[in-house]
Symmetry: C2
Subunit: 148 residues, 2 copies
């Protein structure tokens, strides 16, 4: 296997081309990692979530790490790790454009929505549904590619 480092542009393209990542947050010294669906735009990863452990932890400590990979031909693969910062985006302080964009991108995937929730037809708003809309500001990105 040949392994090389991805450029920042290649990392960004991989983040844009994919929808499923693994999101790690940390409380005190304990990390916690879960899969999540996201949409990449303008150096941010946008996502919706039901309230729960990861939201509580990211509210307490906004530092996160996101890992995304894709498989190439044969045994080849690419993996990107993005370190970033959690930012919650309540409806009432704007961000309608970002929310609609993320909703538009994510709702194209039949299986994107959080487990346990019926898929809403319209973007959830904070006054009517418990869903949390947030984004990860990407502060540092790195990636590797392995090819045969």
């Amino acid at each position: 296997m040949l392994v090389r480092t991805l450029s920042a542009l290649e990392c960004t393209k991989l983040l844009t081309a994919n929808r499923i990542g693994r999101l790690a947050c940390a409380k005190d010294r304990q990390p916690y990692v879960v899969p999540f669906y996201y949409a990449h735009a303008d150096n941010h990863l946008y996502a919706f979530s039901m309230p729960g452990k990861k939201i509580e932890w990211m509210r307490a400590n906004p530092l996160v790490s996101v890992q995304v990979d894709e498989h190439g031909q044969g045994r080849g693969w690419r993996s990107v790790v993005a370190d970033g910062r959690y930012e919650e985006l309540p409806d009432r302080i704007g961000h309608k454009l970002e929310r609609d964009h993320a909703w538009s991108v994510l709702s194209k995937h039949t299986d994107w929505w959080e487990p346990g929730a019926l898929k809403p037809v319209l973007p959830p708003v904070s006054d009517s549904a418990p869903h949390v809309f947030f984004r990860i500001l990407i502060e540092q990105v790195s990636g590797r590619e392995a090819s045969e």
Copy 2:
């Protein structure tokens, strides 16, 4: 989608049946998540790694979180999160049985070895190769299943 909580036994079976997970560690308040190959046995996840950032971080703070998932029929999936503790297993203090077991399980997969390293024919020993052999003691496990 119907979602239910997995029993501890179901979580263990999923960990045993899979080889690829995402391993999150943390330094100070910053988490870091990467893919890794593992073999599950006796409430531990065994793995080899080249030295690097994740090894340094886990040496400094052994608290980790591992996420593993598998896809079922249609849109169905299962995901397990295991919180645990990093334990390094140098050759010189024993653990030959565990090392040989992990090597035996992992070497069956053509693509399991760390990128950038030639796949060794025999298990690496700490005196001759820089590979780090470690295990994650599973302290807490939880999982969910979504089915149509």
